[in-house]
């Protein structure tokens, strides 16, 4: 376990050193504050558009951080040949995979904490209400979703040769699921057999990342989600992340490391 956390620590330090997070955070903050300062018809009570834009930027930034950070982990280790002394420590390949996953996931969590703190301050100060539990649920669900994304990108970094191709394919996949995942069953029902079964099968097979996007519930001040439902969604994310990590380990354990 110590080995895994030592590896994770390196990843977190790398996120702190690199400029990605700072750039994205400043961009999110500037855009949100700029739009928040605009007065529409001299109405100071209007706040939902600020929340909408802030959360959209947070989602985009979090996905960029998760995918970009994870996609370069294993290829960078191989390129710089630091993977050899690492494996000679001795650290098993499974521990490398797990360490990288934990590191990337925790790094995403840290970034999300900063983003949500900013969101909370902006939203609370304009709306004069502090639904902290709703924000916590939104944060936790988004972080759980990022767990699946990190595991997927880690698997991709073993399958695909370059980090850029892996990042692009994962981006398309994740965005595709977020936009279409909920409706694939409707699409399937409109198809003739055997395409219908194939699309419906795909609908059951893909991780339903769109569940974790509860921005609308936050923006429009809806009720809390049931804690049982949150727990089930977390379990679902955990199972999918484990499945993808296991797949990554299966491929990585026999993969030649020299370039």
């Amino acid at each position: 376990m110590n080995t895994i956390f030592a590896l994770a620590n390196v990843v977190i330090k790398e996120l702190c050193r690199r400029k990605d997070f700072y750039v994205l955070f400043v961009l999110t903050a500037v855009l949100t504050l700029l739009l928040g300062s605009v007065s529409f018809f001299q109405d100071i009570k209007v706040v939902r558009y600020v929340k909408e834009i802030a959360l959209l930027l947070i989602w985009i930034s979090a996905l960029v951080i998760a995918i970009a950070t994870t996609a370069r982990q294993l290829p960078a280790e191989r390129e710089h040949r630091t993977i050899f002394p690492l494996l000679a420590k001795p650290v098993t390949r499974g521990q490398v995979i797990l360490g990288k996953f934990v590191g990337c996931w925790l790094a995403c969590g840290l970034a999300l904490v900063v983003f949500y703190l900013f969101f909370g301050v902006v939203s609370g100060s304009r709306e004069h209400s502090w639904p902290v539990l709703n924000w916590l649920q939104a944060f936790w669900l988004q972080w759980s979703m990022l767990g699946i994304v990190v595991a997927l990108v880690l698997l991709g970094s073993i399958v695909f040769a370059a980090p850029s191709s892996n990042a692009t394919i994962c981006f398309i996949l994740v965005l595709g699921i977020l936009l279409l995942g909920r409706h694939l069953n409707q699409v399937a029902l409109q198809q003739p057999e055997p395409l219908r079964s194939v699309v419906y099968g795909l609908y059951f097979f893909i991780p339903h990342l769109e569940w974790y996007d509860v921005r609308d519930l936050i923006i429009y001040d809806h009720q809390l989600i049931g804690w049982g439902d949150c727990a089930l969604a977390s379990l679902y994310a955990g199972v999918y992340a484990a499945l993808l990590l296991f797949g990554a380990w299966l491929l990585f354990r026999r993969k030649p490391l020299h370039l």
Binding site: F40, R48, W211, I219, Y220, H222
Partner: protein, 289 residues
């Protein structure tokens, strides 16, 4: 001296640039239409901004429904158009909208059933303090596409509801400058004059002009909506009735009958007005006591 030459050339070029800029800047406005662009969005996005304008108008509708909105996959079963955005409770448009917004239906499988715990599933509309939340999206939409008339009329409706009549008028006038032939905007301006400024003369001018614009569009084969003719004619008829011009009121209601989906009610009003006109005419006998 040799060392000074490059700096002198640099200075000369700078002076040349400055002089040319002062001469050309005034002329540059006339060179292209882009130079006359009134905002940065127009310069950056060109005509593509109209696509974004539509997106922001839909976003206003999403905001109006607090996030409960059909996706492109549900839209065949859901509400179309924007009339529900300005429909009062009890209106036929409101009733129709209530029915059509039941687009979710029962869940088809466990994934859909579970997924509904994480999305908005109740059909509600903005009310009270939250009604102004629709306005930013409409303002952005109007900035991106000043020719989208419904943006101005919907925003004016909500601004009127929020007792912001002066803001509504300012926004409508901006809309009218961008769409000088819009009978919809003239109708809304007339309503503001009649209901908030209590100025029937100005309201009449607006609505009369609106009727003319509607007729012009019809004559030009643009097929303007009959609903708008109905609105204009009925409101103008009520105004004429209040002013005592019963003959003109009857004439306008007869015009509205051609446009309304419910002519029976208007027919009854016409008969009522005709009775009143007959009672007020010089030859009529005084009512029996």
């Amino acid at each position: 001296m040799k060392r000074l030459v490059p700096y002198l050339i640099l200075g000369l070029l700078a002076v040349g640039c400055f002089s040319l800029a002062t001469v050309l800047q005034a002329r540059a406005y006339g060179w292209s239409r882009r130079a006359q662009a009134d905002n940065i969005l127009k310069v950056l996005l060109g005509d593509g901004r109209r696509l974004f304008a539509n997106h922001f108008f839909i976003q206003a509708d999403v905001s109006f429904h607090s996030g409960y909105y059909p996706s492109i996959f549900d839209q065949a079963r859901a509400a179309q158009g924007s009339r529900h955005l300005t429909a009062e409770e009890g209106d036929p448009a409101h009733e129709e909208h209530e029915k059509s917004m039941d687009f979710l239906g029962p869940p088809r499988d466990w994934i859909e059933r579970f997924g509904r715990h994480f999305m908005v599933t109740d059909h509600t509309h903005l009310h009270g303090d939250t009604e102004s939340e629709i306005l930013p999206w409409l303002k952005i939409s109007a900035e991106l596409d000043p020719q989208k008339v419904e943006t101005y009329t919907v925003a004016a409706y909500w601004l009127r509801k929020l007792n912001k009549a002066s803001e509504a008028e300012e926004f409508l006038r901006e809309g009218l400058r961008n769409n000088p032939n819009s009978h919809e905007i003239l109708f809304e301006l007339g309503r503001l004059c009649a209901e908030y400024h209590h100025d029937p003369a100005r309201a009449r001018k607006m609505w009369e002009l609106g009727l003319r614009k509607w007729a012009d569009q019809e004559a030009a084969g643009q097929k303007p909506e009959l609903f708008h003719l109905d609105q204009l004619a009925v409101h103008l008829a009520r105004l004429e009735e209040q002013e005592g011009n019963l003959a003109r009121a009857i004439e306008l209601l007869q015009l509205a009958i051609k446009a309304t989906p419910h002519p029976e009610a208007l027919q009854r009003q016409i008969e009522e007005l005709e009775q009143r006109r007959a009672a007020h005419s010089p030859g009529a006998s005084p009512p029996a006591h």
